[in-house]
Subunit: 363 residues, 2 copies
């Protein structure tokens, strides 16, 4: 039993659970070593006090045997009802299930209903925060994987910057970056690669399209890769040919906010305090209304983990946490600037996973 | 109010619902025209008898106003509790919600709990099948989009075949295909592009990796693109240099099964009967145990829609349905062959979205 699974077992005992059910593919991968996306089919880990099994679609059973750390694989064919097989397998253990741990922010109502029927459980408990706790503090091994993912993200930025020329479209730059990444063995990006030109970056969640690059505008890159099952995430905004003083001024405000937050990171403070440090700098410069999202988010196996760095959040920063610091200023139809590093927390500060220069780069 | 929303309204009346709640991003896009992936944030459509609003994260509010067909946009900031805002907005309508329609196979238990609290609903009904009904029969406009997505998938196959050479890796071929697609304006593939060489294709859901190509082996391509919000999906298995008689024989069995199913498609028959036609051919050839998945699945906005073409499925084929026909034979660590076209059903047969030759191509 690997270390993460051992921790989950401890949580199960602590919370007096008879069964923990996990069907989120990333978490199944985290706890079993078997990484797979079953789409609408059922791939789930069933952890009990004396038993554990991995339930898979039959077309994944062989792969699961090879790659997972779990010995017992139970599978079902497309034409079979998975819940009938689960019910019969559970009953073979002859251990009544009273209290069941589930992940409420991932489990669907449909599967919840099936699960309650198949287990005869009397009550459920949300184990999301227990799992976030297990994943919150990264091991050296995990941080090493994230460092590599960060290096590849720096490489991706370099490729993107080198691709810039008058008339190229956002999506062509995205294609160039992802092609070069794939050639280097990166089969998946952390999320849809963002390359946004000029006014197009004024919407913080725009999509790269056919917009072509002109001189004297900003280019916003927001990207990350998945490497060995761990993610990176980085944002840089660069100038394509010289930009105006106003553009530079906005850039400097965001940069100050980002650097201030990054150099303030220390175990013992709250994540809300970090948001406040960045936000107050942007507010004092008069752009408070244009920083429309939280300062950052945790990352690890995904880019959507704990902690959240939002206004007022009270989670205490600890050594081994990994999160993004990504202030931005967005003026609709005009300009968008965001600068982001993800960092891991050390005993007395933090170290970024990405190293690309943050001073304004003019290409 | 667009046509899809009008149909949803009719379903609401039929089922005596006071509110329909939808937060699956693809469906929000289908019903409102606003395509966005909010990740863990809440993006949801609230449809009532006399009111309708789209609830969005504040950083998406402007885009939603521009792109959605819904006039009332209600939004929340990261530091706010979305459910408090939803509760207060709903109460402003002063219309009691007794019966609520939800999508059980997508709604999470967490959101279900919040929703029950915010609406004070007394009962819920699963509207999944009502929505699948609305989406099941594609309009001419939808089929035209899918034809274009099919053309691009054919193009992707051509690019992939042209890239094959001794020593190239699976992931390099994937990179080449996706790069050329991005250059043609395709920003998203329908699913992770599959390129599998020789014995590696013996697992029906393998992942492309560093395996390099040798002469006299099969190459399996399974890919699709998203174009104008609609998907394509196609599989071809080609021979790289001459292959053995045994390889050819297996190919011919799969081809017969695929062609037999495709030429049998007709309104009025069941999808289970189509599965049976393909499966019996493979069984008679002695490979029944090696065809380990269903014959096909519906597709449209996603590649996971109704109908399912599985053993025993009783859904009746109708004009305007779109689905895959994809028999395969997989012998672990030896060989994998799959051939797939997706088709749309006409009054007296079906027409494929993809046109790449299905006779064995030797490169």
């Amino acid at each position: 039993m690997n270390q993460s699974l051992q921790k989950l077992k401890t949580k199960m005992t602590e919370h007096e659970l008879d069964l923990i059910y996990i069907d989120e593919p990333n978490l199944v991968g985290y706890f079993t070593g078997f990484e797979s996306n079953p789409h609408e089919r059922v791939l789930a880990l069933f952890l009990m006090n004396n038993n554990i099994f991995l339930f898979t679609p039959s077309l994944e059973a062989k792969d699961a045997e090879t790659h997972s750390s779990i010995e017992t694989i139970v599978s079902y064919k497309d034409e079979e009802n998975p819940w009938t097989i689960i019910e019969s397998h559970l009953s073979s253990y002859d251990q009544p299930i009273k209290r069941m741990g589930i992940i409420e922010n991932n489990l669907t109502v449909e599967r919840y209903n099936h699960l309650m029927h198949s287990t005869n459980a009397q009550e459920t408990m949300d184990i999301s925060s227990a799992i976030q706790d297990i994943q919150l503090i990264k091991s050296t091994d995990e941080i090493n994987k994230m460092k590599y993912a960060g290096e590849m993200a720096d490489k991706a930025l370099e490729i993107g910057m080198n691709a810039l020329k008058v008339g190229i479209s956002e999506q062509e730059v995205v294609a160039e970056i992802e092609y070069e990444m794939k050639k280097r063995g990166i089969s998946e990006m952390s999320f849809q690669t963002m390359v946004l030109f000029g006014d197009h970056a004024g919407s913080p969640h725009g999509n790269p399209g056919e917009r072509t690059l002109k001189e004297h505008e900003f280019v916003l890159f927001d990207l990350g890769v998945v490497a060995e099952g761990y993610t990176s995430d980085v944002t840089r905004t660069v100038a394509f040919k010289s930009v105006s003083q106003e553009q530079k001024d906005i850039y400097e405000v965001v940069l100050s906010a980002q650097k201030a937050a990054q150099s303030a990171v220390k175990p013992g403070m709250t994540t809300g305090a970090l948001d406040e440090i960045a936000r107050s700098i942007i507010e004092e410069a008069g752009y408070g209304d244009f920083f429309t999202h939280r300062l950052g988010h945790g990352l690890g196996k995904t880019v959507h983990e704990y902690p959240s760095l939002s206004k007022g959040s009270t989670m205490v920063v600890e050594e081994g946490m990994c999160f993004s610091l990504e202030p931005g200023i967005y003026i609709e139809n005009q300009i968008g600037v965001r600068i982001e590093d993800c960092v891991y927390v050390t005993a007395d500060g933090c170290i970024p996973f990405t190293r690309t220069n943050k001073n304004l780069i003019t290409l």
